[in-house]
């Protein structure tokens, strides 16, 4: 069982991920230029939407990207950073090559999602928001709900949902997702990032 009071770190701290896709700042500039506003009020209303779009496309929002957004909407990057840390959907760190959401809604909870969170910690050494040391898989625990409650507990890896997951199938799912990436690397079709062992 996970325990919030556990202060000791039993697991290796994830190493910096070197194979990440950097945020293409030109693409961000291009995207932001499509946000037109007539007055101050409308500009403020659009900041969150712009951040969401960057987060959606690149999986996270970098300080450089927030600077571009802040400038476009006439505000400061500190203010933008405050939004990034307040709203749970944003990431300020890059994702792994695969991104897993563990649903921790109530229906998943009553079907044992807590064990999945624990399993990720015990087997792969990742907690909510972490990325595995090799950069293959980042994990996010969804405090709300993925809305597929009839298959609880549910995890979502990249774009695919997996239902009725238990500790055993979770490990298998992660390994399979990671293995599929290794194949891509061997075929030389990846994006130039480092391979896996």
């Amino acid at each position: 069982m996970a325990n919030a009071n556990q202060t000791h770190e039993m697991l290796p701290v994830p190493a910096p991920f070197t194979g990440r896709k950097e945020i293409d700042l030109d693409a961000v500039r291009e995207m932001v230029s499509h946000f037109h506003y007539e007055d101050f009020e409308e500009a403020q209303e659009l900041i969150l939407s712009a951040l969401q779009e960057v987060n959606e496309i690149f999986g996270w929002v970098s300080p450089e990207a927030s600077e571009i957004i802040a400038r476009h909407f006439g505000t400061t990057s500190e203010r933008v950073f405050a939004l990034l840390t307040f709203y749970a959907d944003f990431r300020t760190q890059p994702r792994g090559h695969h991104h897993m959401l563990i649903c921790h809604g109530m229906a998943c909870y009553v079907h044992g999602s807590q064990q999945l969170v624990q399993q990720m910690q015990d087997t792969f050494g990742v907690r909510d928001g972490d990325t595995t040391a090799d950069g293959n898989m980042s994990v996010q625990v969804v405090n709300g709900c993925l809305g597929v409650c009839d298959r609880a507990p549910v995890v979502k890896i990249d774009d695919t949902y997996h239902g009725f997951v238990d500790a055993g199938t979770l490990t298998e799912l992660v390994n399979r997702a990671v293995a599929s990436r290794s194949e891509v690397t061997e075929n030389g079709e990846n994006d130039g990032s480092h391979g896996t062992k």
């Binding site: 069982m1 325990n3 919030a4 009071n5 995207m31 499509h34 946000f35 037109h36 009020e41 500009a43 403020q44 209303e45 659009l46 900041i47 969150l48 939407s49 712009a50 951040l51 969401q52 779009e53 909407f73 203010r79 405050a82 939004l83 307040f86 709203y87 749970a88 959907d89 944003f90 809604g105 109530m106 229906a107 909870y109 009553v110 079907h111 807590q114 405090n143 709300g144 709900c145 993925l146 809305g147 597929v148 409650c149 009839d150 298959r151 609880a152 549910v154 979502k156 949902y161 239902g163």
Partner: protein
Amino acid sequence: MVHTAPSEHLPRLTSREDFEAFRAQARKRWTDLWEGNKTVVSVGVGSSSIAKGALDVLAACRQHESESTVVREVSGNGAFWMEPWVEVKRPGEPPVVYGNVAAADVSAVLTGARQDLAVGVRAPESFNGIPSLHEDPFFGHQQQIITRNAGVIEPDSIEDAIARGAYDGYFKVLFEMTAEEAIEEVTTANVRGRGGGGFPAGIKWASGRKAKARPKFIVCNSHEGEPNVYKDRHLHEADPHRILEGILIACIVCGAERGYNYIGGEYPLAIRRFRKAVADAERLGLIGKNVLGTGHNVAFRVRTGGGAYICGEASALMYSVMGVKGQPRTKPPRSVEEGLWKRPTVANNTETLANIPDIIVNGGEWYANIGTENSKGTKLMTVQGPLKRHGVVEVPMGITLNHLFNDIFGGMREGHEFKGVQTGGVSAGPLTKDHLDIPVDFDSLSDVGGMLGSGGWVIFDQNVCVVDFARYLTAFNRYESCAKCVPCRLGNPALVEILDRIRFGRGTLDDLTLIKRTSKHIIELSLCGLGQVAPVPLMGMIQWYEEEFRRHIVDGVCPTGTCPISSGDAVLAAGD
């Protein structure tokens, strides 16, 4: 920016006659579709069915598209247990719904070789030995008003929606009745806020209309942060035009210049479909300057949330729209006086607004006949847990939980025993099996510590430990606290700490008193609704399951064996 393009073929309507002609045309198109000699194949595509492969099924169906076969992408119908489903209407026959269809089954389903997958006929009569869906308790016990288009119309088609009555209420408000009459109807209907608060919409609208400052805004609260409630998502995906119409009616009636819809960022499909609805309505001229030649100007903006539960609170939501952190503020001034951008703002829940078009068209009297004395109309409800069926249903107010769980949702699954049901999302206490015969409306459950709230029910079975569950619920509130005011920010972590002590076998009987005292402080001193109800689930758990708490504390045993107390961790904890 995510620009959703409107359908190119839509004309621009500039007068009453234009709209009437367009509506007649849409209705004819609809009748031709269903009475023509083509096979109509509809695939239910919603967030929940996409997770089960509905897009593959849709793609497989598209392969069979031809001169004689039309394939439509409709939304889910709330019956998650039969997803993905395909509805086939052959010429001269009623539409037959096939459930749990895999992409590989599609060819056989279309040729009629897989009648074993048929769930029912979407018509009052049975057909060829296939029963009517109305005979199925899941559909038979529902009263579908605001979800009657779910799984029937194509949500991306404004013509489908108009053929099925969308914008009739808007039309009536624009041309046939005064704003005062409209408010009168809403007041007679006594429709109360569906987000959980239960505040009468008519009163809110009347004060919104009276507000003098300009401009005024209408905000639709579609931010469902509550775990396991997705009624608003269902409505957006199934019938976005109904919500849009509700907001537009509110704009006209309250004299607001602009409508907003704030949708939770977790719902990409709902956002996409709603944006499409807005784009189409704008192109038709239902939104914009001088709507249908009446002189009314209505603007519209869609804003999306970023995954903060607190943004469901109205003042926090408005801050979020304004692009800052969503933290509630003290009231007064109420948002009707000073809301978005310090202008008068009327904020309503999605489901409330979705009820408005029918109230305007059919009158408040009609609506007031549905439901109970104090809670009128129907309510969308989502039920989760180890039940035979899952989904979203629309039932009249006053239904009992027994009826809801056992008749509509088929009762508990094999091997699971009902222990309790968590009510009101994370904002109210649980109920035990002794309470299942209370008719459910806005007020009836408060005596036993439960709440209708936004209509989400999570059933838990004998394998769930109430201490652990209480910790989960409290930890949810701890995580979602906006950290503005101290009682909530520090009180909830304190409660989690005490519960952890009990779970690890280090609790004392004094802890139960401490929980009650801390909870009282949080409830009385917190600023907003989140803090004021945060300890309520925990209090409810102790109220009904105190014995189980005591077993943890006195005997050092977790009866379900789920707490760390029952595993090796307990030793660690004890030696600590």
